[in-house]
């Protein structure tokens, strides 16, 4: 039997609420609060024959840590990528030796392609076109060039580290040649994906199944002007007032960022359109039926919720939840799966749905969710919950290199509740958040522990169990021992 292909599309900072499909009465109930008034017809169409995971999260909702978990199946403390990568953060780097999802796919006979943003390498002075220089001209350097030996089994490469000029992107190809197409990045990446799928220039070996990862940068910031999106996409939202576009009850309309919403949505719709072109190509080449198609994001976007100007790195639903649509081969109808999906779960889940579970390395933090998808039982036991992780730079050496990280915040989100604890650098408690997302999807009422001691205890216990399981620094150092029932404390 022919092995199924994989198409894995994950734009950056595309929040879960920004899917038009939530406005469909089939799915509306599963959206946490009001969905965005966005136009995403291609994703809506995919949803009609896909599994939809409304409880999919990005555990450490920033770019590199999510990507690290995606490709290693480990939480950021074990993946090698606890922080967003840049040239000062020497402790955050996807090691060459680590066995990644793409390595397993290549070893299993897949032709593996990667297009777009990577952001998993410690940038080094290896710019192919500027010997001895960083790719990035700024310091610390963020952007990077991924050398062939660091590509983890990926055969076809058309990527970059991280770079945020949507209409002026650049890429290095398999041979390290730099390309500057001067086209809106997602559009150019879709063009390249279409070439790969059609095998226009002999990009892939057609005798093997393919696994193509397409990581678009939009709707990542910036999204402030026509320099950050296409006019045709902006036209969908340009005339609409902020009040029409920012529909969630927890939005601060006074933020300067509020005016940016239409540019963000323009990028959302643009990504949808480009995704649609890639899907059409899959159909045209006759591989649609036989391809596992995933659409997700590396994290969400607060978009003025909770009065925040930072788009990510918080446990609030807008940043923590991600879209997750997965179509299995031959799938015809939609299924909503309310079980949680964590970033490290993706690796084993993808191998499982491709029929490659035997190739899955042991010792992963993540667990396959394939069974939850395919067995028809919404009533199976609730999962323990999804960990939330926020790390900051720790100590620096004399050269200014970040040599460890500070585990500032940990939390857990169950299918109903969100709990988050934050400490200062002395590991003293600075903030507790506790929300009932069912009653309060906008997370405006922080529940005091004293009013719900039983609930608090239960969630704290779940959080502790997960921290211990993944050997998180909080568990190793027994952070907040008065709250968290680590073994050997008087609590147990």
């Amino acid at each position: 039997m022919k092995k199924p292909n994989l198409l894995y599309v994950f734009p950056d900072q595309f929040r879960q609420m920004s899917l038009g499909l939530w406005n469909n009465p089939l799915f509306n109930n599963y959206c946490s609060g009001q969905p965005d008034p966005v136009y995403t017809p291609n994703l809506d169409q995919l949803a009609q024959q896909a599994y939809i995971l409304p409880n999919a999260v990005s555990n450490c909702p920033v770019c590199s840590p999510h990507r690290g978990s995606l490709f290693t199946g480990q939480y950021p403390n074990n993946s090698g990528v606890p922080l967003n990568c840049n040239s000062e953060r020497v402790i955050s780097n996807l090691e060459q030796e680590t066995k990644c999802l793409t390595d397993v796919l290549a070893q299993s006979g897949y032709h593996v392609g990667y297009i777009g943003k990577w952001h998993l390498d410690l940038p080094t002075r290896n710019a192919p076109d500027k010997p001895g220089q960083f790719v990035d001209t700024r310091l610390p350097a963020w952007d990077s060039y991924t050398e062939p030996q660091r590509r983890h089994g990926i055969h076809y490469w058309y990527g970059y580290g991280t770079f945020d000029e949507h209409c002026n992107p650049h890429y290095y190809d398999t041979n390290g040649v730099r390309h500057e197409p001067k086209v809106w990045s997602a559009e150019h990446e879709a063009d390249k994906a279409i070439e790969y799928l059609k095998n226009t220039n002999g990009e892939r070996d057609e005798s093997s199944p393919f696994a193509l990862f397409l990581s678009m940068n939009p709707p990542h910031s910036p999204y402030e002007s026509l320099e950050d999106c296409r006019e045709e996409d902006l036209a969908l939202y340009a005339d609409k007032p902020n009040e029409f576009l920012l529909v969630r009850d927890n939005v601060d309309m006074q933020l300067d960022k509020a005016d940016s919403v239409r540019y963000y949505f323009a990028n959302v719709s643009g990504v949808d359109k480009e995704f649609g072109r890639v899907v059409q190509t899959l159909k045209d080449i006759g591989e649609w039926e036989n391809t596992v198609v995933v659409f997700t994001s590396d994290h969400g976007e607060t978009l003025c919720s909770q009065g925040l100007t930072d788009a990510k790195n918080v446990i609030y639903e807008e940043a923590f939840l991600v879209p997750y649509l997965i179509k299995l081969p031959g799938q015809q109808i939609p299924h909503v799966v309310t079980k949680s999906l964590n970033s490290p779960d993706i690796f084993p889940t993808i191998l499982d749905v491709l029929g490659l579970s035997a190739h899955c390395p042991s010792g992963l933090d993540g667990e396959s969710r394939a069974q939850a998808l395919t067995e028809n039982s919404p009533n199976s036991a609730e999962s323990i919950g999804s960990l939330y992780i926020r790390n900051l730079d720790g100590d620096k050496d004399q050269d200014g290199n970040v040599i460890n990280y500070f585990a500032q915040s940990r939390g857990i989100r169950t299918e109903r509740y969100t709990l988050c604890l934050e400490v200062n650098r002395e590991y003293k408690l600075t903030e507790i958040l506790l929300f009932d997302n069912q009653a309060d999807p906008y997370q405006l009422n922080n529940i005091a522990f004293s009013s719900q001691p039983k609930l608090a205890k239960q969630l704290l216990s779940r959080l502790t169990r997960e921290l211990i399981r993944i050997q998180d620094p909080w568990a190793k150092q027994k952070v907040l021992p008065d709250l968290l029932p680590y073994p050997n404390t008087e609590e147990l």
Binding site: N24, P25, L26, F27, N28, N29, Q45, A47, Q48, Q49, I52, Q332, I333, P334, H335, V336, V337, N376, S377, P378
Partner: protein, 487 residues
């Protein structure tokens, strides 16, 4: 089951009027199950069948096409060929394409076979040929022969040594089989117009049949039989999304309730069979709940056309009707160009997405095709369901307006044009009153225009005082007729 596609059940009553349920104002007809359905969903005040008679409305419901586009879509005899061709797109086929299992239980009345119908053979030209995986139906109506159930493609319980013969020609009537015209002494209920053919179970029917003794249905258990079959279908398909078209025979004539429902209302058998129908629905909906399917099943209840008292039998319906208003405040009933002909109860329940509400949106059964297609992600082909407008939002209570206008049919392709406020009836050369039933058909030789905001009972003809409105409505009507498709 975690698939997101809802199950869909269409509950379809036969000749039930706008005012015939207690949730629509019937004081003496207890219909607790439908009242509950309405309370858990949306009760529409302006829900319409496409026509004021049976076959045309059913045709439109299943094809999304106005009935007058098909010259065969008229009230059919029991041996008429199927009027939906095997190639034609249907609501059931649409569901099938999206992975649904589809079934029909109850009244079909869209013809059977492809010309040479022989009830003794496996029939080609059944619901199974136009999109239904499973079917259990009566051939036409309960007042027409043959009085047998058809289980998928074969007459149920037929003894091959006692074949069925059917004719609708008095000249070929079987002399050895008693009929109402010649053997009135054998009747339990006296026929009226045209229902004087073969006597089955003490009731003379339209048309003549001979043989098939073992296959003859029992009128008193028909309701229960259909309900049980509907339940079987739901149980068998509980793990896949399903579409069930459950077309009940009540309160169509002959009205023969199960004895336990006799006397359930002060309105005689017509009231009693409505109570029976409600009980059948309750049985099916209870099963749905029991199987855990209530939350994600869309249940739509409506009727094929308006009400009638004497529709062929002297069953005391007129005498015992008393002050009951079958069509509520509306004028006319079955066969009528007035509102009572086509405006019918219309209830939609889908706990997953709908909470209790009332809706004044203008909605027509013809729109279910397009709206449900949209809901489950099916894109209509160009020529498919040509008159089915997309009103999903109205159907689930998110749009209070619905249709802007529509063409309704009275009898024999006579049309009414309805917009948000007015009903326009062009001149028609035919009787004003149906001689047989006493229902107002509503034909007049001059234009009629009614303002339904002010005058829902259609007593005040505004045609003379509003000639511009009349001209505008006539123009829109002409345009709708001329176009190959109106959606």
């Amino acid at each position: 089951m975690n698939n997101a596609h809802p199950n869909v059940i269409i509950l379809y009553a036969d000749d039930l009027g706008f005012g015939d349920l207690s949730c629509y104002g019937a004081n003496n007809i207890p219909t607790p199950n439908l009242d509950k359905l309405a309370k858990e969903g949306i009760k529409f005040h302006q829900g319409y069948a496409t026509a004021a008679t049976c076959t045309p409305s059913r045709y439109s419901l299943l094809t999304g096409s106005y009935p007058w586009r098909n010259p065969d879509a008229a009230v059919l005899p029991g041996d008429a060929p199927q009027i939906i061709s095997k190639e034609q797109p249907t609501l059931a086929k649409m569901f099938k394409k999206q992975g649904y299992n589809t079934g029909i239980v109850g009244k079909w009345h869209l013809g059977l076979g492809d010309g040479n119908l022989d009830f003794n053979k496996t029939i080609s030209g059944t619901p199974n040929d136009v999109g239904f995986d499973q079917s259990f139906i009566m051939a036409a109506t309960n007042d027409r022969v043959p009085c047998v159930y058809i289980d998928n493609r074969n007459v149920e319980n037929l003894d091959p040594t006692d074949p069925i013969e059917v004719t609708y020609d008095w000249d070929k009537a079987f002399s050895d089989v008693p009929n109402g015209r010649h053997n009135p002494e054998l009747l339990d209920v006296m026929y009226d117009h045209g229902h004087d053919g073969t006597i089955i179970n003490g009731v003379s029917r339209i048309g003549h049949m001979r043989g098939g003794e073992s296959a003859i249905w029992n009128d008193e258990t028909m309701g229960e039989r259909f309900a049980d079959k509907a339940i079987d279908f739901i149980e068998q398909n509980q793990n896949t999304p399903f579409f069930l078209y459950y077309a009940m025979h009540q309160p169509h004539v002959p009205r023969i309730p199960n004895p336990k429902f006799r006397g359930a209302t002060p309105h005689g058998v017509r009231g009693d069979v409505i109570v029976e129908m409600d009980w059948c629905i309750g049985k099916v909906l209870d099963k749905l709940e029991q199987l855990g399917l209530k939350e994600n099943t869309i249940v739509i209840f409506s009727s094929d056309n308006g009400p009638v008292l004497n529709d062929g039998y002297k069953d005391q319906a007129i005498k015992l009707n008393g002050k009951h208003k079958m069509a509520g405040p509306l004028r006319g009933g079955k066969y009528s160009l007035f509102e009572g002909g086509t405006r019918v109860p219309f209830i939609v329940r889908w706990p997953h997405a709908i909470c209790e509400q009332h809706s004044n949106a203008l909605i027509n059964q013809i729109d279910l095709y397009h709206s449900l297609a949209k809901l489950i992600g099916y894109e209509l082909e160009d020529n498919e369901a040509p008159d089915s407008e997309l009103h999903l939002d109205a159907l689930i209570g998110r749009d209070a307006v619905g249709r802007r206008n529509m063409v309704l049919e009275g009898m024999q392709y006579k049309k009414v044009f309805r917009d948000g406020q007015y009903a326009y009836i062009p001149p028609h050369d035919n009787d004003f009153i149906c001689q047989h039933t006493g229902n107002e058909k509503g034909n007049q030789s001059t234009e009629q225009l009614y303002d339904l905001f002010d005058d829902v009972g259609q007593l005040n003809n505004l045609a003379d005082s509003m000639p511009e409105k009349v001209a505008q409505m006539q123009k829109l009507l002409d345009e709708s007729i001329e176009k190959q498709k109106t959606r």
